[in-house]
Symmetry: C2
Amino acid sequence: MREVARQAGVSVATVSRALNASGPVGEETRRRILETAERLRYVPNRTARNLKRVATETIGVLLPDLYGGFYSEVIRGAERAARAARYHTLLASAHDGLPELVRALRTLVGRVDGLVVMSPDIEADVLRKNLPPGLPVVVLGGAVAGHGSVAIDNAAAAEAVTRHLAGLGHRRIALVSGPAPNADARARRDGYRRALAEADLAPDPVLELAGDFTEASGRAAAASFLALSPRPTALFCANDAMAVGALQALRDAGLRVPADVALAGFDDIPLARYVTPALTTAHVPIDEMGSQAIDAVLRAVRGDAPAPPAVTLPTRLVVRESCGARL
Amino acid sequence: MREVARQAGVSVATVSRALNASGPVGEETRRRILETAERLRYVPNRTARNLKRVATETIGVLLPDLYGGFYSEVIRGAERAARAARYHTLLASAHDGLPELVRALRTLVGRVDGLVVMSPDIEADVLRKNLPPGLPVVVLGGAVAGHGSVAIDNAAAAEAVTRHLAGLGHRRIALVSGPAPNADARARRDGYRRALAEADLAPDPVLELAGDFTEASGRAAAASFLALSPRPTALFCANDAMAVGALQALRDAGLRVPADVALAGFDDIPLARYVTPALTTAHVPIDEMGSQAIDAVLRAVRGDAPAPPAVTLPTRLVVRESCGARL
DNA sequence: ACACTCGCTGTAACCGATTACAGTCGGCTC
DNA sequence: GAGCCGACTGTAATCGGTTACAGCGAGTGT
């Protein structure tokens, strides 16, 4: 910048004003400055600008993982919203749980104007301890006191799926639930139980199979499912990845879906509509969760709102083929 | 930081040294500083540090789009490699072609230490004009003079797929190619033609259907395919997204794959193995392209190498069910 | 002719860290 | 006991922009 100023015969202040149109600059002077900058291929150093402006024009997006259709959709939605607002998206993931989460949080500070965090069972304390007070944070998929959140009603959605299965005449409906400590997983299980009670079906612990939201665990759970006697006629997986795994395992075992076993998932990841049979599932507006989270952060960043709100996005049952419902 | 220094009764220099372990600090002093920083919840401002260090510890990843399995994989690979090196990933996308590409390029400058760019037909000129000289850049999927690149041998891979089809006895093999100006698309078409020639099959312009790499265009191309008379017995789509679209359209038209029509794709996106029948396709190590691109940029950033190299990653034919080959 | 306004431009402070350099102090050597 | 060394700490320059403030000349009103 100094060099541009020198060659254009003006001061750096004038160069800055000319390039940002942030103050009065003589027509002739402006032209000369622009031309010189162009010739020198000068592009202002964003870091320096950010330091002075106390704003980075970027929002951090911290996810537990990047694998699978779910996170991809979140990222896509987030980037779309950020781009629309001329903000950037700084991506981070924390695979190894708390230690890496803390590390990621701390390295993000000062680089971002706000943060979207998704992490199973994130705690208010972790956030408070590792982030400067006042940094707008929106938690994805779980409310944390003092921060905004974008979530869905997991229990209601799971209840709707289970009710659908019951409505189709199934009396023994198994569940593959998510990892025990996970709040989403618990809520979905609760919804499942509620629907059973509602349909006057006795809850049965053996019907609740353990899973951890991975495709492999869905496959494993399907094996346990097959060992159940009498075998349940329906299987509800607490997310689509597990449902896809279960679908493969069931097929490998020679069972037809939905003729022999009705199968349902949760999330409606893009893949859900492509498998055969297409998966009946609870539709979660995943990309919208990403974009709304960004929007909420941005409102707080820009001071339009005191603090990001807690929003709950609607889900809906998507009936496809895997449950055998007449379409 | 000043506040921490004040409360701990030392200078900011000592605070900096204590927090970064970058110089000798008395045991007692260090303890007091750390404790004070903790109490004040002080986290150093990364922007300031970056300004002084002339490094941002982040690599920009600029993609044409974020939709679909392909880009998700690139992102995943890139983030993985960046995280391993303790770098961050700044995500950007340029949907609207050149204008937005230029804008993105310019806003990225000064925020990143290096750049991974993927864009159909990116030109050396655009890069040169909008980026400061010396910024390490790696182009994904197409070489640009003066920059590193990570690509695959599109023609060879397409040739292998086509040869596989020919080897299965197909004599009329149609192609759904990508958008005409796209270099990848052209190379794949060339490979297809080469394989035909190799198998002594006459090239026929009507067998080359237009597509644009989207699922919808695959569906549309399948319609044209069905109108061909006599109908070819095999359909090679220049990417998996189009193959998936074609698969749906063929099925909707009452045709069985592979019994009535052999279908092949290109890329091996995650979805390819999940559709029924699973897609025979050219496997492209997508996530590895992302990670290798980051690695190449990092080597340049760290000065281990003068400039990022041009690497070509191996592809391989993945035979699944959609072509009817005995497995 | 003088005071004032207004448009343009320059000087220098500042953002929040890092770090070169210099200074202090206790302990050792001879 | 003087000289030195090394460990520790502080002062201040610096990174590359932005911007408050001041200066300056030309035009305007009276």
